[in-house]
Each structure stands twice: as structure tokens, then as C-alpha cells.
């Protein structure tokens, strides 16, 4: 799937920047998924064609606990079941790697130049003006051709495949979450953000810096509260006489 993608982005997807993409992508993808995409188009020209999203999901991979609660919540509110494969946010732990390389978080970036939207042949993947310009998939119109998935320049791709409905889906900031009792979307709350007790997810208004991974992956921690010590509070100083060595 999406074999040509590797020639587009940096292998881990992390260092990929919009500028790189437009330069490299313009040539590498010519004749591929983006046939006809003019190699010389400048970033600004292309960007102006798409209204920017009014909200972005950002994350803090250095403080994420790797609990996957966000994934369970995402699939729960959208699909009515918990399913790691059907979560539109993807966290992946490699518990034996050293911190902070032990956790990867992949979210939809609501790209300024959304290739998923650009390449969808039916208009199912679209910019939803009534929902704050987020990039959404209208499942009624989706014919399951996977073009949006294959067009996503990031690894792993952010739109995902639902093998049951045989359609693509992507993060909609919980705009259309049938099992969510709350108002989702750009002006509402999001199930994943709510589920995260590590404060590692947040929806922001301004377009994150596109040139560096830290645009989306940033420190989201509030000023730290002291955790209670164990078992009775902060350790007290030990006096020698209190510490009785052994015995018999």
C-alpha cells in the first residue's frame, strides 16, 4: 500500500516538512497519485486554494503515558466498540526503547495542503466549511478506493481503512461521533483529549509550525503538581536511632 510514499517523506515521517514535500513531492509524485500536479507550483499558491482548518490536534509525546486510552475512546465514540485498529489517533509504544524514543503518536495534521482532499475522486474527503474547515470524509460518498489513504504523505498514513464498512475514515475532531454524548468538533470537546489524564493531547486554534515535528509534538504540561509520596507523604529524614538494623 502507498509504496511511492517512501520516496516522498523522510522514512520516519518525523522530519518531513511542508517545504520538503512541495519540492520533492512535486517531482516525485508527478505521474503517480498526483498526476498533473504542476511541479513548479509554489507552496503559497497551492495553500491559498485550501481554507486552513480552524483547529488542530497536537500532542506531547514526551509526557504521554502510552496508555492508549485515547485510542480506545476514539474508536468507542465513533464505532461503538473499542478497537485499536479503528482509532483515528495512533499511539505506539516500544517499551524496550529508551525514553523518549519509546512512544510514537500519529495524528491527522489537518494539513494546509490536504492531499487526501485533493486526490479524492468523489469529493468524499473534503474541507468541511460548516465544521471549521476540518478535513473530513463523508462516508456516504466514499467509494472505498483508498486514494486518500495512499495520498497522505505521512508514515504511517493518517486516514485509516475500516475493513467492515470498506471505507476510509479520518480524524474529524469528533464532529461526527455517533456514540459520543457530547458536542464534538472544533467548538466542542474531543473524546481522546478528554480521555487523556497525562495532558498529552490538546486542540489548538492556530496552524502549528509545519517545518518541524515540534509544531505538533510539544510540551503541553501545566505547571506540575506534586504527587503524593508513598505511603504517607514526602519522606521524612531518618535519624540513626530510628533505623534499627537487624536483630537476631
Amino acid at each position: 500500500m502507498a509504496k511511492d510514499k517512501k520516496s516522498v517523506g523522510d522514512k520516519d515521517g518525523k522530519k518531513f516538512s511542508r517545504r520538503d514535500f512541495l519540492v520533492v513531492g512535486g517531482t516525485a509524485l508527478a505521474g503517480g497519485a498526483l498526476a498533473g500536479y504542476p511541479a513548479k507550483t509554489t507552496a503559497t499558491e497551492k495553500e491559498n486554494e485550501y481554507a486552513p482548518s480552524t483547529a488542530y490536534l497536537v500532542y506531547d509525546s514526551k509526557h504521554c503515558a502510552g496508555c492508549y486510552s485515547c485510542m480506545l475512546a476514539c474508536s468507542l465514540v465513533h464505532e461503538g466498540e473499542t478497537n485499536l485498529s479503528l482509532s483515528r489517533i495512533q499511539v505506539h509504544r516500544a517499551v524496550l526503547k529508551k525514553y523518549p524514543f519509546d512512544i510514537e503518536i500519529n495524528v491527522c495534521r489537518q494539513c494546509p495542503v490536504p492531499l487526501c482532499v485533493e486526490n479524492c475522486p468523489t469529493g468524499a474527503c473534503h474541507i468541511s466549511v460548516e465544521n471549521g474547515n476540518i478535513r473530513m470524509i463523508d462516508s456516504e460518498k466514499c467509494i472505498g478506493c483508498r486514494t486518500c489513504i495512499e495520498s497522505c504523505p505521512y508514515i504511517p498514513h493518517r486516514p485509516i481503512w475500516n475493513p467492515v464498512t470498506e471505507k476510509a475514515m479520518k480524524c474529524d475532531l469528533c464532529t461526527d461521533a455517533p456514540y459520543y454524548n457530547k458536542q464534538g468538533g472544533v467548538n466542542g470537546t474531543q473524546a481522546c483529549v478528554e480521555a487523556c489524564v497525562a495532558n498529552a493531547l490538546k486542540v489548538v486554534r492556530e496552524l502549528p509550525d509545519q517545518t518541524d515535528i515540534s509544531g505538533y509534538d510539544r510540551d503541553l504540561q501545566p505547571p506540575r503538581k506534586a504527587m503524593p509520596g508513598f505511603p504517607f507523604g514526602p519522606p521524612k529524614a531518618k535519624s540513626k536511632s530510628e533505623t534499627s538494623p537487624d536483630t537476631l
Binding site: C67, V197, D246
Partner: protein, 699 residues
């Protein structure tokens, strides 16, 4: 159709004849999932055939069952445990049917592959691992994995899985995942069938108690790896999500306790959502590690000045060794006389003749210092060089010797109780070793008493931290933030109310004179509470999968009325997941069923009332010195008050009296402790009664 929350089938693997079967979960739901289901499977596949004597945990006919509960993988906070059960090689003198559990991702991944559990019997001819990819289950050659430590083994299986971290989605029959398999494995300690071997999952989630690593080893089973791409059906998804709001409103500062050591970036079991420093990412003792037990491994406190909560190279290394070799840290550690009273109650230093918590490493050193082992004795210390004691090098060699049964390690690998027995020093159980029951180290069983009674009636250290009975103004019961001061009477009332049985005397810790028999620690009230607690524990924790660090919770300062989340949270979560309409008491009843089935297994293994006695030190002053929570509620016949119970100890007559009450409440014969026909039939287990009858073991 499987009940929502359950995957619907259980995997049964016979390694002897390579048979792989799918059993219907529904048949076992009456036992509650998790340990309850593991017990029912053991009964069906290991007891009923009647073709072995149920004595040897390393016998190929033993079963090791890894079972999940209804809430695993559903995002219900603190619900991710995987239960492990089977005959346990660590128990002494009889290798009782035992159990353990571990956190992490395994239970969820198993369910997402479509399995509620995996039970393994038989013995493979040569090393294998069980590979589960959704419905596809294969036995894979593990010759090349044998000898690897638990981390290397996982890395190797990940490589074989073809799924790469941080790379593209992996297709599995038209479905996709980014997750590498969840793996539970053994290290050398399990391969060499030591009695102190754990199962290790991830960096440091482990099932230590019972010694199930050795059972894997005896079966030539190196690991179980699972990856799943399916979902878990939830009966009421909206309702489940709404519980978060309800919970947050009532218990804003969260449940239970947690936390060791300095601040850290936390990690957690899957879906936890209420973690509190039980695991961490950046503290390199160690990745994904529960620092509690592991960091005790080389805690030579206080003599050698190594602080178990400090981040020092020696602690880090110690923790890593425990995970990699797959050793039960708590059993083998070097923690010498430890007592929280040294820190917290200077008025009550450890009583000289009875040290508190001690373990194998510490005991070995003691034996060496006393000249029982080492030069001039028949026990050579090689490969340990005792001159290097307290160095990292020594620790590493100790770990390896133990795990690989080198030299003196061969003796140590039998665990503290059998090591002492070999030295002809079983009297040490009462003094130096402080083994409360069944070969297990003292833990915080006293002065809480009901923990100790739980150990006595079960087969292990029940390791049940939900004893929120201490004075909340200063003690362990003070879960949650600030709030008002609690009078003893009000506190007891709240606890009693939250059990749903409303008997304040369940919480009376009177231990002297007549009151001890009337309402205190030897009374019917205490027996009723212990029965409640064991039924609760068997179902809600060991079978449903709720974590001990959050459940039960009868009292919480974070609630305006002092209410803990028990008994509301448990059925609320469970019903939202399963769509059943179970009450809290329905759950206790399921727990009672599984508990009685386990009792029937104990009975067939040789359990008798006469065996159910504590080690002698429990009947002497000093019995409570390793515990904390000394301020306990005492009723003097007229009023309640907090009293420091650090001096609490039991009497033989009192415990006998308590047992009579307990057997009566459980419906067990008062002279033998065998379950009665009426009891079993009422629980829908006529077949169990008939079987016991055929063996002359019916009460």
C-alpha cells in the same frame, strides 16, 4: 453471540499433542472470567480426568491459564490485568492451586485478537512459543529463543512478526494494525524451572507470585505472542463514556494510591486512565516497570545505605536484571528487616527478636554470616564471592546463579522456604524468614488481620492493598486530598455502609480480652468481613481484572461524604460494558462460586483445617511490626476510638474460633474445612460436590 465485553472464545493449547482448540466463553461466564474461568478450566481439564495427584506444578498435566476479564481493553480505568492460574511451584509445603496477575497490554491484545484467554496444558518436546494473530494460532519453534532473556526474546519475536515500530500499517487479512505483538515470556529463571520465576511482559509487567515462569519452563513454552485487529463490543458505549464524567465529579482526585520515588514521566497499563506513578517511562529502573517490587531486589537497606527509591545505577541494574532474567523480585530480594515504622513511628522500633519483611537474598547472607553455609560447611558459595557483597557485580552473579541454577544458585532457586528446609532450619520460618503462610514472605498482612486471614484461607500472599482502615488523618486510609477530620465512629460507619452489609464491627480491630471474640479480630464479624473480602477479590479483582491499586475502595477523602467508589463503580462499569444488569452483590456471588471451586481443588490437594495455621511468630508480640497503618478502629464495648495497633498479635485459640466462624459462613465443615454439598449445590456446582464425594472429601 458472546456477551459484550467478552471476545467469545478461549484458546486451549495442548503442547503434548499440539492440539489447538477454541472453547466457548459463555459456558464459563458464571465463574466471572479471569481467575474464576481459570479455576473452572483447571477443574475440567486437570481435576476431573483424575489421572494425576495434583501435587507437582511441573507435571505436564498442570495447566497454566492466562485469562482476561470483561473490562480489559474497554477503557475502563484500572482494568487491564491478565490473570494467571494453575498449580504453583512456589507454594510450600504443598504446591497449591495458585494464581498471579500482570498488567500492561496483554489482556487487551488477546481480546482484540478474539480470545478471552489462553490455557496451556501438556509439554512440548522442544521449546516452542504460541503465536496468535487474530484467529490464527500456531506453535512456533523457539529453540533459537531458548536461553534469551525476556527482553531479547521479545525483540526477536517482534522482528519475526514483521511489524516495525514507527513504520507503515501492517496488513493482516485485509485488516490493519500499527501495533507489534504483546508478548508474555520467561527468562532463564523460568527455563531452568526455578520456583522463583516470573512471567514477564513488556519492560516490566510481570506475574511473580506463584512461580509460573517455572511452569512455562516445565512445558518448554518460551512465550505467548499476540496481536489482534478486532474490536471489543461494548453494550452501552455512550453510557460507558459518561461514567468518566460521573467519576470525575465524585472523586476529583482519583482513586486509590500509587507512587514510588521521585517525580517521573508516568506510563500505564492499557486504558488505565487513572494511573498514579505505578509505572514510568523515564526512570530507568526501568522502562514500563512497576518500581514497587522490582526495586526491592537489591535494596540492602538499611545496613548498606542503598535506598530503594533512589535512582542509582545499582537500583537500575537490579530492576533490569529482575525483568530480564524473569525472577520474582519480592521473593529473592535483599531487603533486610524492613519496616515502615522505622520511618514513621519512631516510638515502635522493630522488636529485636522478630525482624520484619525479609527475603531470600537477605536470608542467604544471614546464613553465610552465621556460618551455616560457606567455608567449612557442605555448602560452597560458588559462584558468589561474598567479599563483593553489596556490589553490582555481586548482584549480577547472584541473579544469574539463581536463574541458571549455578552452584549455590541451585539451592536458592528453590525459594526461601525450601532453601531453609534444605539447611534443616524450618524454625527460621518463625524468626529470620518470617514466612506467614505457605512459604510466602510476610507482607503487610498485619495488623490489618484480614490480609493475614486471606493468606491463610488462600494459597499465597493475597497482596491485597485495599485495606483502607487506617485513620484517614494520618494513615493509609487517607486516600485523596484534604477534607475534614474523621472521627473513628463516622469513618467506620462509612466503610460499613459501602460494603452494602452495614456492619461496623467488620472494622473492629479489638484484639485483647473478650471484645476480641465479641466484635474484634476473632469474632464472627471479622470472619464475615474476610469472606466478603475474598469474594470481592476473587471476582472484581482477580476475575474481572480490576487493579488492586484502585479496588476496592470503601473510603475516600476526596468524596464529601467520605464514600469510596466501591460499591458503585464496579457494577456501573461492568454493566455498561456487558449490558447485564448485575448488582454489586451479584458479583460477590460469582466470586463466592469461584472461591468455593478453588476450595474444592485445595481440598483434593490435601488442604485440611489442621493445616490452616499461621507461623508461630504471628502469635507473639512483634507480629505486626512489618505492617503499617497502625491506627486502627477499636470498639471497647461502648465507643469507637483510634488506637495504635502496632502491638497487635493473634492467639491460637482466637484464630481457631475465627476459623470456626469462617467455615460456618462459607458453608464448609467445621472439623475438616471441606466444602459441604449444600454449599456447592446452592452455587450451581453439584458436579463438584459429586466429585468430592467420590474422593471422600465432601464436608
Amino acid at each position: 453471540m458472546a456477551t459484550p465485553g467478552f471476545a467469545g472464545k478461549i484458546l486451549l493449547v495442548n503442547l503434548t499433542n499440539k492440539e489447538i482448540r477454541a472453547l466457548d466463553t459463555e459456558k464459563y461466564e458464571q465463574y466471572g472470567g479471569g481467575q474464576g474461568t481459570g479455576t473452572a478450566l483447571f477443574w475440567e481439564y486437570c481435576v476431573v480426568p483424575g489421572d494425576w495427584d495434583l501435587q507437582d506444578a511441573f507435571h505436564p498435566k498442570n495447566m497454566v491459564a492466562l485469562m482476561t476479564g470483561a473490562v480489559s481493553g474497554t477503557g475502563v480505568p484500572r482494568g487491564a490485568r491478565t490473570s494467571v492460574s494453575g498449580l504453583s511451584p512456589q507454594c510450600y509445603p504443598i504446591q497449591w492451586f495458585g494464581h498471579s496477575n500482570f498488567g500492561g497490554m496483554f489482556s487487551t491484545f488477546l481480546k482484540m485478537a478474539g480470545w478471552d484467554g489462553v490455557a496451556v496444558i501438556g509439554r512440548a518436546e522442544s521449546p516452542v512459543y504460541i503465536n496468535i494473530v487474530d484467529d490464527k494460532v500456531t506453535l512456533e519453534d523457539a529453540k533459537a529463543l531458548w536461553g534469551l532473556n525476556s527482553w531479547e526474546c521479545q525483540e526477536e519475536i517482534w522482528k519475526r512478526s514483521g511489524i516495525r515500530y514507527g513504520q507503515e500499517w501492517q496488513e493482516i487479512d485485509g485488516r490493519y494494525t500499527l501495533q507489534r505483538p504483546a508478548i508474555v515470556t520467561i527468562g532463564p529463571a523460568g527455563e531452568n524451572m526455578t520456583r522463583v520465576a516470573s512471567l514477564i511482559h513488556g519492560g516490566g509487567s510481570g506475574a511473580g507470585q506463584g512461580g509460573f515462569g517455572g511452569v512455562f519452563g516445565s512445558k518448554n513454552l518460551k512465550a505467548i505472542a499476540v496481536v489482534g485487529t478486532k474490536g471489543i463490543k461494548i453494550a452501552d458505549p455512550k453510557g460507558l463514556k459518561d461514567i468518566e464524567v460521573w467519576y470525575e465529579k465524585n472523586w476529583p482526585s482519583g482513586p486509590g494510591f500509587g507512587g514510588f520515588g521521585p517525580p517521573s514521566v508516568q506510563s500505564a497499563c492499557i486504558g488505565c486512565g487513572q494511573f498514579r506513578k505505578c509505572h514510568n517511562r523515564d526512570r530507568a529502573h526501568s522502562q514500563d516497570s512497576d518500581d514497587c517490587a522490582e526495586s526491592t531486589f537489591f535494596s540492602l537497606m538499611p545496613e548498606y545505605g542503598i535506598d530503594r527509591e533512589a535512582i542509582t545505577p545499582i537500583n537500575q541494574k537490579g530492576t533490569d536484571i529482575v525483568q530480564q532474567l524473569g525472577i520474582n523480585a519480592m521473593e529473592t530480594c535483599f531487603m533486610g528487616p524492613m519496616s515502615f515504622d522505622t520511618d514513621h513511628n519512631p516510638d515502635f522500633p522493630i522488636q529485636p527478636k522478630v525482624p520484619a519483611y525479609t527475603a531470600l537474598g537477605w536470608y542467604m547472607k544471614k546464613m553465610y554470616d552465621m556460618g551455616v553455609i560457606g567455608p567449612g560447611t557442605k555448602y560452597d558459595m560458588a559462584p558468589l564471592n561474598m567479599k563483593d557483597f553489596a556490589t553490582q557485580e555481586f548482584m549480577e552473579i547472584y541473579g544469574l546463579a539463581l536463574a541458571k541454577r549455578y552452584g549455590i544458585g541451585d539451592l536458592l532457586a528453590e525459594g526461601t522456604a525450601r532453601f531453609a528446609e534444605k539447611l534443616g532450619r524450618t524454625d527460621d520460618f518463625n524468626t529470620l524468614c518470617r514466612l506467614t503462610m505457605w512459604g510466602y514472605q510476610d507482607h503487610w498482612s498485619m495488623p490489618g488481620v484480614d490480609w493475614a486471614y486471606g493468606n491463610l484461607m488462600d494459597s499465597r500472599d493475597i497482596n491485597s492493598h485495599d485495606m483502607s482502615f487506617g485513620n484517614p488523618s494520618g494513615g493509609f486510609g487517607g486516600f485523596g486530598g484534604g477534607g475534614k477530620e474523621w472521627t473513628c465512629e463516622d469513618f467506620v460507619k462509612v466503610q460499613a455502609e459501602r460494603t452494602t452489609y452495614n456492619d461496623p464491627f467488620w472494622f473492629d480491630f479489638s484484639w485483647e480480652g473478650k471484645q476480641a471474640y465479641k466484635t474484634g479480630v476473632f469474632s464472627k464479624h471479622k470472619a464475615e468481613f474476610v469472606a466478603w473480602r475474598m469474594h470481592y477479590w476473587t471476582y472484581y479483582k482477580e476475575s474481572v481484572g480490576f487493579c488492586d491499586w484502585g479496588y476496592a475502595q470503601l473510603f475516600s477523602r476526596s468524596h464529601p461524604k467520605g464514600y469510596g467508589h466501591t460499591p458503585e463503580a464496579e457494577p456501573r462499569y461492568l454493566n455498561a460494558v456487558t449490558g447485564r444488569n448485575h448488582t454489586f452483590e451479584d458479583g460477590l456471588e460469582i466470586g463466592r462460586r469461584a472461591w468455593n471451586l478453588k476450595r474444592a481443588i485445595f481440598t483434593l490437594q490435601g488442604r485440611h483445617k489442621q493445616m490452616e495455621n499461621f507461623a508461630g511468630y504471628m502469635y507473639r508480640p512483634g507480629a505486626s511490626y512489618c505492617g503499617f497503618s497502625p491506627e486502627l478502629p477499636i470498639y471497647d464495648g461502648k465507643k469507637w476510638e483510634w488506637q495504635n495497633c502496632r502491638e497487635l498479635f493473634l492467639t491460637r485459640e482466637g484464630v481457631d474460633q475465627w476459623k470456626t466462624h469462617f467455615y460456618d459462613i462459607e458453608g464448609w465443615d467445621k472439623d475438616t474445612g471441606y466444602p459441604k454439598r449444600r454449599t456447592l449445590e446452592k452455587l450451581g456446582m453439584k458436579h463438584v460436590a459429586d466429585f468430592l464425594k467420590s474422593k471422600n472429601k465432601l464436608g
